[in-house]
C-alpha cells in the first residue's frame, strides 16, 4: 500500500488567554490511496483540528504532513496552492460553508478559476460536476438559500471534486442532515469513491456511520490517537478501554440487539485540554487504570493485524 497521506508526530497547539491548548498532541498515521479512514472521538478530542491541519487551515506547530511524499506542514505561497488541488475538504454545516451571495455555479467554479482554467472549460466542468452529485444543471444560476441541507452538501461535494483531488477531508459531512438525506449523501460519497478512487478522511462522532463507510478507523482522545485498525478489528475486537466504552455507548438501531448487550457506561466527561491529565490522557475515566497510568504516557503499540493501541495493559 502506497501511503497517500502520512502524518508524523503532528502537533497543533493554540496559545489562548487561559494557557496553551494542545489540540493535536503527537498524531502519526498513514492513509492509503483509495482508502477511507474514519476518525472518531468526542467533541474536543481534536479530530476537526487535525482535519484542518491537513488542509493547512490552522498552523501546524511541529511534525510532518506528507501528501504523496511531500511534506506540506510548513509550505507557503504557490507551493501551498498547488498542494490544495490534491487535498480538499467538505464541511459539517452546509449552510455556513457556501457563500450566500454567490450563485451555486460560481461557488463550484471558484477552485477552477483559481487554478487558471479557461471560462469555456470551467462552464463545461461545472455542468459535469453538478451531474456527478445529482443536481440539475439549472442549479448553476440559483443561490444556496434555494436548496435544502442535503442539496447544499451536494454542492459542497461538487466544489471539493472540482480539481480531481486525491484526498477529501470530510468533517462531519452528514451530522446536520436528516436520516433519509444522510443516507443519500453517504451513498453518493461511496459512489464517487468507487468511480474516481478518491480517498476520504471521514471525521465523525457517529460511530454507526463510520462503521458503514470506513475501511480503517482511528479513535482520538484528547489530541492523541488511542487506537487505530481495520474497521472489523475495531468493532469486533476493540483493545483500548476508551474504544470499548465508545462502542458500548453508541445506540444500536435494533431493540433486541440493544437489550442483549451488556453496556458499561463510562463515567465522567472529557477533561479540559487546558489541563490534560498527566500520564495516559484517559486514566481519569478509565475503568482499568493503575498507578502507572497516572505518570507514564502509553505509546501506540502493535496489537496484531496491523492494528495499534496506546494502553499499558494490552
Amino acid at each position: 500500500m502506497t501511503a497517500l497521506l502520512t502524518l508524523n508526530n503532528v502537533h497543533v497547539h493554540f496559545n489562548t488567554a487561559a494557557g496553551l491548548v494542545r489540540a493535536v498532541n503527537g498524531v502519526s498515521l498513514d492513509l492509503g490511496a483509495g482508502e477511507t479512514l474514519g476518525l472518531v472521538g468526542e467533541s474536543g478530542c481534536g479530530k476537526s483540528t487535525l482535519g484542518k491541519a491537513i488542509m493547512r487551515l490552522v498552523p501546524v506547530s511541529t511534525g510532518e504532513i506528507r501528501v504523496e511524499g511531500t511534506d506540506i506542514a510548513q509550505l507557503q505561497g504557490s507551493a501551498l496552492t498547488a498542494m490544495r488541488r490534491k487535498v480538499q475538504m467538505i464541511f459539517q454545516d452546509p449552510y455556513g460553508s457556501l457563500n450566500p451571495r454567490s450563485t451555486v455555479g460560481r461557488s463550484v467554479a471558484q477552485p477552477l478559476v483559481l487554478a487558471g482554467w479557461k471560462p469555456e472549460a470551467v462552464a463545461e466542468r461545472v455542468d459535469t460536476l453538478l451531474g456527478w452529485v445529482g443536481l440539475p444543471t439549472d442549479a448553476k444560476q440559483r443561490y444556496p438559500h434555494e436548496f435544502s441541507g442535503g442539496q447544499r452538501q451536494r454542492i459542497g461535494i461538487a466544489r471539493a471534486l472540482a480539481l480531481n483531488p486525491r484526498l477529501i477531508v470530510c468533517d462531519e459531512p452528514v451530522s446536520a442532515l436528516d436520516v433519509s438525506v444522510r443516507a443519500q449523501v453517504i451513498n453518493l460519497l461511496e459512489d464517487l469513491k468507487a468511480e474516481f478512487g478518491v480517498s476520504y478522511l471521514f471525521i465523525s462522532h457517529d460511530l454507526s456511520v463510520v462503521e458503514h463507510i470506513a475501511d480503517r478507523v482511528a479513535v482520538m482522545y484528547l489530541g492523541t490517537i488511542v487506537e487505530i485498525g481495520s474497521r472489523d478489528r475495531i468493532w469486533r475486537q476493540p483493545q483500548h478501554p476508551y474504544t470499548k466504552a465508545l462502542l458500548a455507548a453508541a445506540p444500536i438501531a435494533d431493540p433486541k440487539l440493544a437489550r442483549t448487550r451488556t453496556r458499561t457506561v463510562l463515567q465522567g466527561e472529557l477533561p479540559s485540554p487546558l489541563e490534560p491529565p498527566a500520564g495516559c490522557p484517559f486514566h481519569s475515566r478509565c475503568p482499568i487504570a493503575q498507578a502507572r497510568c497516572k505518570t507514564e504516557r502509553p505509546v501506540l503499540r502493535a496489537t496484531g493485524d496491523s492494528a495499534q493501541a496506546a494502553c499499558h495493559f494490552i
Binding site: E42, S43, D178, V179, N187, S208, P255, L257, L266
Partner: protein, 327 residues
C-alpha cells in the same frame, strides 16, 4: 382504575402565516401509560416538536394555535385551561426537557436559584428548604460535588451537566408525565449514554409516563416501549418497539430503518435511501404526503389520503399499500 397519565386525541395545531395556514399537527392521537416510554420519531419538520409544545401549551401564539382536539392530563383536558392554570400544571404535573440545555437555563442565575424557583412555585417550601431540596435533586441526577455546584452558573458546567440540571428541574415536583424533546442530541455519545441511563432510572423510580422525541432510531431502540412515527404533521405508524423494527408496515418507517446503519450487523453494500425530501407544510401533495417519495405508491395514493387503520391491536398504520401486505 386510575386515569391514563396522558391521553392526546385528535390534536390539531395550525400555523397561521402570511403564506397561508399550515397544519403542523394534523389529528394526532396517542396515549402514554404510567412507566411507559413512547418515542415520537420523524425528520425535521414532521411536527414532533410542535406536538410536544402543543401538549405543554407552550406554542408561540401567533403564529401557532391549537384548533382542535384534547390533551387529557390525568383525566383532565388541559386545552381549554387558562395560562394561569397552566402555570400551575407545568413543572408539577408535566415536565419537559429540551434539546439544548445551555439555552434552557438562565445564564445569569445560579443552579440553586433556578431549581429552587420551581420547587417554591409548586410546593410552598421556603427558600432554605428549597435549597435543601435542590441539593437532593442534584444528587439524584448524579451531579458530583452537588453542594458546590449549587452556587455555580450554567456556563461553568459542561453540556452533560447542564442537561442533568434541566432534568432535575423537570422532575423536581415528581410530575406524572415527562416530555423529553431530543434530550441527548446535543451531547457526546458517552454522555448521551449516561443521560439515557439516568432518565430510565428516574422513570422507573417514579413510574413517570414519558414521551421521548428523537430522530435517532438508535436512541429509539434503546429507550422506547412504543413508537409513533410522524410524517408531515400526521401519525403514519404506531407499534411496539420490537414489532416496528422487525416488520415496519409503512414504507416511510421501512425507509428510515433502512437508512440507519446498524453496527455489528452484516455490512450492507448501500444504505437504503429515501429519494427527495420532506415536503414543506404549505405545499403538501393532495393525497398521501409521502407518495412522491414512496417506492410503493399507487395511483390512489396520489389523490386520496390514507386513514389510520388498526390491522392488529396496538398496531396502527396509514397506508394503502400496507393494507395489501407487509413491505
Amino acid at each position: 382504575m386510575a386515569a391514563v397519565p396522558l391521553e392526546v386525541s385528535d390534536l390539531r395545531t395550525t400555523l397561521f402565516t402570511r403564506r397561508g395556514e399550515m397544519k403542523a399537527v394534523d389529528g394526532l392521537s396517542l396515549s402514554v401509560g404510567a412507566g411507559e416510554t413512547v418515542a415520537l420519531v420523524g425528520e425535521s419538520g414532521c411536527g414532533k416538536s410542535l406536538s410536544a409544545l402543543s401538549i405543554m401549551r407552550l406554542l408561540p401564539d401567533p403564529p401557532a394555535r391549537i384548533v382542535g382536539g384534547a390533551v387529557k392530563l390525568n383525566g383532565r383536558d388541559i386545552v381549554p385551561l387558562s395560562e394561569e392554570s397552566m402555570l400551575d400544571i407545568r413543572g408539577k404535573e408535566i415536565g419537559m426537557i429540551f434539546q439544548d440545555p445551555m439555552s434552557a437555563l438562565n445564564p445569569v442565575a445560579t443552579i440553586e436559584k433556578q431549581i429552587a424557583e420551581v420547587v417554591m412555585a409548586h410546593t410552598g417550601l421556603g427558600r432554605f428548604q428549597a435549597r435543601a431540596r435542590a441539593h437532593e435533586l442534584l444528587e439524584q441526577v448524579g451531579i458530583p460535588d452537588a453542594a458546590r455546584r449549587l452556587d455555580a452558573y450554567p456556563h461553568q458546567l459542561s453540556g452533560g451537566m447542564c442537561q442533568r440540571v434541566v432534568i432535575a428541574m423537570a422532575i423536581a415536583c415528581s410530575p406524572s408525565v415527562l416530555i423529553a424533546d431530543e434530550p441527548t442530541t446535543a451531547l457526546d455519545v458517552t454522555v448521551q449514554a449516561q443521560v439515557l441511563t439516568l432518565l430510565k432510572r428516574l422513570q422507573a423510580e417514579a413510574g413517570m409516563a414519558m414521551i421521548f422525541i428523537t430522530h435517532d432510531l438508535g436512541v429509539v431502540a434503546e429507550t422506547a416501549d412504543r413508537v409513533v412515527v410522524m410524517y408531515a404533521g400526521r401519525k403514519v405508524e404506531e407499534a411496539a418497539v420490537d414489532d416496528l423494527f422487525e416488520a415496519p408496515l409503512h414504507p416511510y418507517t421501512a425507509g428510515l430503518i433502512g437508512a440507519t446503519p446498524v453496527p455489528g450487523a452484516v455490512r450492507a453494500e448501500r444504505l437504503a435511501d429515501i429519494p427527495g425530501m420532506v415536503p414543506p407544510l404549505n405545499a403538501l401533495p393532495p393525497g398521501c404526503a409521502f407518495a412522491p417519495r414512496c417506492p410503493r405508491a399507487m395511483d390512489r395514493c396520489r389523490t386520496e389520503r390514507p386513514a389510520l387503520t388498526e390491522p392488529r391491536p396496538g398496531r396502527r398504520v396509514a397506508c394503502f399499500a400496507a393494507e395489501k401486505g407487509p413491505t
